[in-house]
């Protein structure tokens, strides 16, 4: 396994729990870590309009999340604070609300055999369920499938879990070289060579450079997201997409989408805009104090969907990349890891292979 973030740790955990001998190579304390900079949503309601495979994959993960949370609690003693009580996407304009209605209708129609229910709430209906919204709030969409975890405890639990199942964890092990042959991989990291018949590449943005060495393709780019965190507050709001209250009480306010290259610093202008929207959504936030802000880089593919594939040239090498490492953690720990152990990805994941990006060069 290359990559100790949420994707790598979830797959590594899933492999180790099946009894495979796993070594997980990770970077050090200071690295571009989306795993330490996310909201912790297990979010379903906006995933996959026009791409039923992604809708199903997301839903499958969200359905398996209660089992993963229970298993991690049992194995490691760490409670990821998983909850699935539904989530609201709050809209400040009629346009936003109408767009959400249209998107959710597409998702309902393409859901097929899987039931997909949603509600569109106007201000009054929303205020009965989320009393602290501000007067400018137009309404919200709601689905019962959405949930959340504490993302930091999730990372801690996955790391503890894979160690509990006998995996080796190597921090400060930035990969220097990859030597690939079918079912025979040699990885050099921090002066040590690691050999294995299987290789899973889940190194986030780092996969971009490493993928070609194993016959994989990861055309990824960073998309910056900035988040604000408040002091601990007594329970105040249910789960909403852009503002959530963590189990310990802190409120997170997110999140921006910025093309900023590899710069993961915060910018006052962007944070101010996030704060302004937060105050319009929940006026009580005006006097709540912010104690932290941070920025992290999303791992984004050209179409925003995950990339899953096995190398055709070097069978045994797998790639896993996405920007929803929390939502998809259960899918990664269970079906994806089981597929890697079997040696073949299932047909449902064919849609996510990188060959979808191979377009003819000629104009």
């Amino acid at each position: 396994m290359i990559g100790g973030g949420l994707v790598g740790a979830a797959i590594g955990y899933g492999l180790a729990r099946q009894g495979l001998k796993v070594t997980l190579l990770d970077e050090g304390d200071v690295a571009l870590r989306a795993a330490r900079g996310n909201f912790g949503l297990v979010w379903v309601q906006s995933k996959g309009p026009g791409v039923p495979e992604y809708q199903h994959w997301t839903r499958l993960s969200s359905d398996r999340w209660p089992g993963l949370a229970a298993e991690l609690r049992e194995t490691t003693g760490v409670d990821c604070a998983h909850e699935r009580r539904g989530g609201f996407a709050i809209c400040l304009t009629e346009d936003e609300l109408e767009q959400r209605r249209q998107m959710l209708e597409v998702l309902r129609r393409q859901a097929g055999a899987v039931e997909f229910e949603y509600e569109i709430l106007d201000h009054g209906a929303l205020a009965r369920r989320v009393p602290l919204i501000g007067p400018e709030v137009v309404g919200a969409s709601y689905t019962p499938y959405d949930g959340a975890v504490h993302p930091l405890y999730l990372l801690r639990a996955l790391h503890a879990g894979l160690l509990r199942h006998g995996a080796r964890y190597e921090p400060n092990a930035r990969v220097n070289a990859v030597h690939a042959a079918p079912h025979d991989f040699r990885i050099e990291a921090r002066g040590t060579a690691h050999a294995a018949p299987r290789l899973v590449l889940a190194a986030g943005l780092g996969s971009r450079e490493l993928a070609p060495l194993a016959g994989l393709h990861a055309p990824l780019r960073p998309v910056r997201g900035q988040i604000l965190a408040t002091e601990r507050v007594a329970p105040a709001i249910p789960l909403t997409q852009k503002i959530r209250q963590m189990s310990e009480g802190a409120l997170l306010i997110g999140d921006s989408f910025e093309e900023a290259g590899y710069d993961d610093s915060t910018a006052p202008q962007v944070l101010s805009a996030l704060a302004a929207r937060a105050v319009r959504t929940f006026p009580f936030l005006r006097e709540v104090q912010l104690v932290r802000s941070w920025a992290a880089l999303r791992v984004m593919s050209p179409d925003g969907l995950p990339i899953y594939e096995q190398s055709a040239r070097f069978p045994g090498a797998f790639l896993a990349s996405c920007h929803s490492g929390v939502t998809l953690a259960a899918a990664h720990a269970y079906p994806y890891a089981e597929a890697v152990a079997r040696g073949a990805l299932p047909d449902e994941l064919a849609r996510f292979a990188s060959r979808r990006f191979d377009v003819p060069k000629a104009a």
């Binding site: 304390d29 200071v30 930091l152 160690l163 704060a275 105050v279 936030l285 104690v291 932290r292 802000s293």
Partner: protein, 461 residues
């Protein structure tokens, strides 16, 4: 939004000296300071104390009184001073964002001087979060700013010049500590630095005088104390310690802890300027050139925030940074800068000569740097213990403070790691058998002090 040639953050010795010099060189200078009156912690409330409470002023001693001259120069210089202004961010264009009585505001600086001074090093012993346990500096601040003295049985514990100074100041105020407990100091290791220390102006005599005054008082002064712990139900009731081969217990109402100072780094760290591990002072500090330039252009750092050197050296550093800032703004030539700098450089050297001895003598004991008792709270805000940090560092191979923060929330509370950062670094370094430099430090981001969502929303950007 306002603007200034030089924005100085902090109104202690470095900030005041810098502001006075800069204003004197014709720079439009704005000082932003958190406290209600200029002076920093060392000269806290000095003008008011001097004017209203002469007895208190004299018992605080001549090092305190010396601040009046600096305050006078600052007041006369024309530098603007905004008290009770808390800076929470400096951006890439050197705009300085702060919060004060009227809400959030910002000022565009051509040059920035960070003079945020020192913090008392954390003293994580069992029970240090109990009411009735404070830092020695806190007691001194209460004495200077509010003329308050401890009421009841007080014990001072730890080591360092401030421990002795506070003991002596309390004695002069008529307060007799129940005991002064000194943790082990490094007399033999420090000995080779004694000649330079003795040559530094006034230090040796002042130190010996404090020791004499303390001894003459008859207050039990126990040296070489280990295994310090405070206990009590809901507040400090007893302090326990090992001394001369026996476990001792002393009933208390108040315990004052001190274990030296460390630079207050959060603002500098939030700029991502380069920092390095200072082994002799056992802390991180920004890498600075002799003028106080850090690795971020247009930003200077002076005073104890750049490494602990004391108030007199801080004044020199402040003046030097002001000269350098004026030069880089084209107000004075390099030649003039260098000529004016000479006395300050010389004076600073004289004071720095005291450091090696003091740093070696008062190097904090290992059991304080990386507490061995597993239930000791390390992060006061999030109540994370030494045992949990050690366990994650070893069993789960947690490589550094940032992963540790993610795993435990240590350093995520409102103090933003100021009271736990060095301890977490030391615990990881010790557990993983690496150097503190390799373990590293928290990545600090703005806001370095809390700001309300409303203030940020209404920011003029």
């Amino acid at each position: 939004m306002s603007a200034a040639d030089l924005v100085v953050i902090g109104a202690g010795p470095a900030g005041l000296a810098a502001a006075a010099s800069a204003a004197g060189l014709g720079l439009a200078t704005q000082v932003l300071d958190e406290q209600p009156e200029p002076g920093g912690q060392i000269f806290r409330e000095i003008e008011r104390v001097a004017a209203s409470h002469p007895a208190l002023f004299s018992l605080l001693g001549e090092d305190y009184g010396a601040g009046l001259e600096l305050l006078g120069r600052f007041r006369a210089s024309g530098a603007r001073h905004l008290p009770r202004a808390t800076v929470w961010q400096i951006d890439d264009e050197r705009r300085v964002y702060y919060r004060h009585a009227a809400g959030a505001a910002s000022i565009q600086a051509r040059q920035v001087l960070i003079a945020t001074g020192a913090l008392e090093r954390p003293v994580p012993v069992p029970g240090w979060t109990l009411p009735g346990v404070m830092s020695c500096g806190a007691a001194q601040t209460l004495l200077k700013s509010a003329a308050l003295v401890p009421d009841g049985r007080v014990v001072l514990a730890g080591s360092g010049p401030l421990l002795l100074l506070v003991a002596v100041q309390l004695l002069r105020a008529g307060i007799r500590p129940a005991a002064v407990l000194e943790t082990p100091i490094q007399r033999f290791a420090a000995l080779r630095h004694l000649p330079r220390f003795a040559a530094a102006p006034g230090y040796l005599n002042k130190g010996l005088a404090m020791l004499r005054e303390l001894r003459a008082s008859g207050v039990p002064f126990r040296r070489g104390v280990r295994g310090l712990a405070v206990s009590g139900a809901g507040r400090a009731e007893a302090v326990r310690y090992d001394w001369r081969g026996r476990r001792r217990e002393q009933d208390v109402d108040l315990v004052l802890l001190h274990q030296g100072l460390a630079p207050n780094l959060n603002l500098a760290l939030s700029l991502r300027c380069e920092h390095l591990w200072d082994e002799s002072q056992r802390c991180f500090r920004p890498r600075l050139d002799p003028w106080g330039a850090c690795s971020v252009p247009g930003v200077w750092i002076a005073g104890d925030g750049g490494g602990i050197a004391g108030a007199r050296a801080a004044e020199c550093s402040g003046a030097l940074a002001a000269l350098a800032a004026a030069c880089s703004l084209g107000r004075i030539s390099k030649h003039e800068r260098d000529a004016r700098a000479k006395p300050f450089l010389r004076e600073r050297e004289r004071h720095l000569a005291a450091r090696a001895f003091l740093d070696t003598l008062y190097r904090p004991p290992a059991e304080i740097l990386a507490p061995s008792e597993p239930r000791t709270v390390v992060c006061r805000c999030e109540e994370v213990t030494a045992g949990e940090i050690r366990r994650l560092a070893t069993e789960q191979d947690c490589p550094g403070p940032n992963q540790m923060k993610a795993f435990t929330r240590c350093g995520m509370g409102p103090c933003q790691g100021r009271l736990c950062g060095l301890t977490v670094t030391e615990l990881i370094a010790e557990s993983r058998n690496i150097s503190p430099a390799e373990a590293g430090y928290y990545r600090i981001r703005p806001p370095v002090k809390p700001v309300t969502v409303g203030d940020l929303a209404e920011l003029d950007v």
